[in-house]
């Protein structure tokens, strides 16, 4: 780790100004990913701008009846917030499925969205990686990739996005708010992460130097009945090998509304819009759920060692939707 300058950001505009002037600077919030990447040499910033103490740590109601979550709200506070738990339980469940109690107390909402892939080739600077070092190659394609992407990947990169929280946010139509030296902007979460294509190093659609200031959730009645399930290789404290965030509104045996997103299958949280379309208006049955999942997974292009993710995601989708269905019936 090379030496670096450290500044506490005085306010949002001050933070943005500090970063705008310095391409080798990085924002530091919870540090749970950045500090680790600095130790492994993936990140070598010359300056850290600490944004942790900025007044972005509140969860507030929005005029449209939704919620706005400040960027420095910790994962723990987000998960424990009564409004989130009551109206968007899928989000609380997703956050609680990630990392550990200690890490959730440190990690922030903004940082969680911007965390980097845990692909072991990406985090090892002695290996080629198109994401870390464009043009160097992707050893995962012919190497160890049993937990890599089956959807939306390219020949240049098959890494998956590690966030659980972002999967729930994708399902909830969240909007990301940011600020740059040029002013404020926003992006639907679904557009925060561009397709991989040939530029896996371009991980977000945020303008250079942007500081995420918050995430807003629309009022979303369907989210009242929502859930997140994560499959991983130990029972806790591990990244997903597949996860599903789902919300379901069933009336009179018909799916009236649905939200569905997959985790650990793509370079971004995978909003399953094809499946949603197949669900809405169809009878609320296991057959419908399976057909919807299969429709979404038609686009899957598994690698030699991650083909299991196709049945896993299909089964997991059916299971989670069926659980929501049962919950509605109770």
């Amino acid at each position: 780790m090379k030496e670096f300058d450290y500044r506490k950001a005085p306010d949002v505009s001050g933070a943005v100004a500090l970063l705008d002037a310095d391409p080798d600077a990085r924002y530091l919030a919870g540090g749970t990913n950045l500090v680790d990447l600095m130790k492994s040499g993936v990140e070598r910033p010359a300056r850290l701008v600490d944004v942790r103490q900025l007044p972005l740590d509140r969860i507030e109601s929005t005029p449209d009846g939704g919620l706005r979550i400040g960027a420095t709200v910790t994962n723990s506070d987000l998960a424990a917030h009564p409004g989130i738990r009551g109206r968007y339980p899928v989000l609380t469940q997703a956050v609680l499925a990630g990392a550990s109690g200690q890490l959730r107390n440190m990690a922030t909402v903004g940082g969680n969205l911007l965390q980097r892939t845990r692909c072991a080739y990406f985090t090892d600077t002695t290996k080629p990686c198109n994401k870390r070092d464009p043009g160097s190659g992707c050893p995962a394609l012919g190497g160890e990739h049993h937990n890599h992407a089956i959807l939306g990947a390219s020949e240049s990169c098959v890494a998956v996005h590690p966030s659980d929280m972002a999967v729930a946010l994708a399902a909830l139509d969240a909007v990301v708010h940011y600020e740059t030296a040029d002013g404020r902007g926003e992006l639907p979460l679904d557009q925060l992460y561009p397709p991989v294509a040939g530029t896996p190093d371009r991980e977000t659609a945020l303008p250079a130097g942007a500081l995420i200031t918050g995430v807003s959730l629309p009022p979303l009645p369907v989210a009242a009945r929502s859930r997140y399930r994560k499959v991983r290789e130990r029972a806790s404290y591990a990244f997903a090998i597949g996860s599903v965030a789902a919300a379901l509104d069933i009336r009179d045996g018909i799916v009236r509304d649905a939200r569905l997103a997959f985790g650990a299958v793509a370079s971004r949280p995978w909003r399953a819009r094809t499946a949603e379309q197949a669900l809405i208006g169809a009878p609320a049955t296991a057959e419908t759920y399976a057909a919807a999942a299969e429709a979404e997974l038609e686009a899957a292009r598994p690698l030699p060692h991650n083909g299991y993710k196709v049945p896993l995601m299909r089964n997991l989708t059916v299971a989670v939707l069926s659980e929501l269905d049962e919950e509605a019936a109770r």
């Binding site: 738990r85 609380t92 609680l96 200690q102």
Partner: protein
């Protein structure tokens, strides 16, 4: 703008203030261990993947290896050395001792700090991934062994003393409940008097 790679900072640890110059690269973990001789906080992985360096920061459990000391300035840091009061062990420490909630002892300070932080989180009504229903209307999740296991999963113990750690945490939680119940009855007793 000029770059400065070190700072003089004041760390508040276990109720004491320590002013020291630090290289910005110094983690809170290394500052505690190498600069303040508080070696109870252990370095198990230095990557946030084992929990051995768990300390409380402003009352919340965190891992000290993924924080820079310079960024911890002004926060209240409590390490394992600050858990006993006047030679009297914290109930969690006592339960680990009595129930053999460890073997080699290396993960133990982290387990104990994590348990103390976790019990406060549970007392505050936070749900966990083991909670059946996270909605507020469902009420707080009782601290079952499953809840303890999920909430403590950020602390690896390679000796695998997990069963006795969970017993120890449960015993300390019961003692805590009993003492807060006693406090409550004492207060109501006073009110009645």
């Amino acid at each position: 703008m000029g770059l400065s790679t070190s700072s003089v900072i004041t760390l508040h640890v276990n109720g004491e203030k320590h002013t020291l110059p630090v290289d910005h690269r110094t983690t809170l973990l290394d500052a505690l261990r190498e600069r303040l001789d508080l070696t109870g906080t252990k370095k198990g992985c230095d990557q946030g993947q084992c929990g051995a360096c768990t300390v409380l920061v402003d009352g919340r459990r965190t891992v000290a290896c993924l924080q820079f000391a310079v960024a911890a300035e002004g926060r209240e840091i409590t390490t394992i050395e600050g858990m006993a009061t006047g030679g009297r062990l914290h109930p969690v420490q006592q339960a680990f001792l009595d129930l053999d909630g460890y073997q080699c002892g290396y993960c133990t300070p982290g387990q104990i700090c994590s348990a103390i932080g976790m019990l406060a989180e549970h007392a505050a009504g936070w749900p966990s991934a083991a909670s059946e229903d996270v909605r507020p209307a469902a009420g707080p999740a009782p601290l079952t062994p499953e809840e303890i296991r999920e909430r403590m999963s950020g602390n690896l113990c390679r000796c695998s003393a997990y069963p006795s750690i969970v017993e120890a945490v449960a015993r300390a939680a019961d003692a805590d409940d009993a003492s807060s119940a006693a406090d409550t009855s004492a207060q109501s007793g006073e009110a009645a008097a």
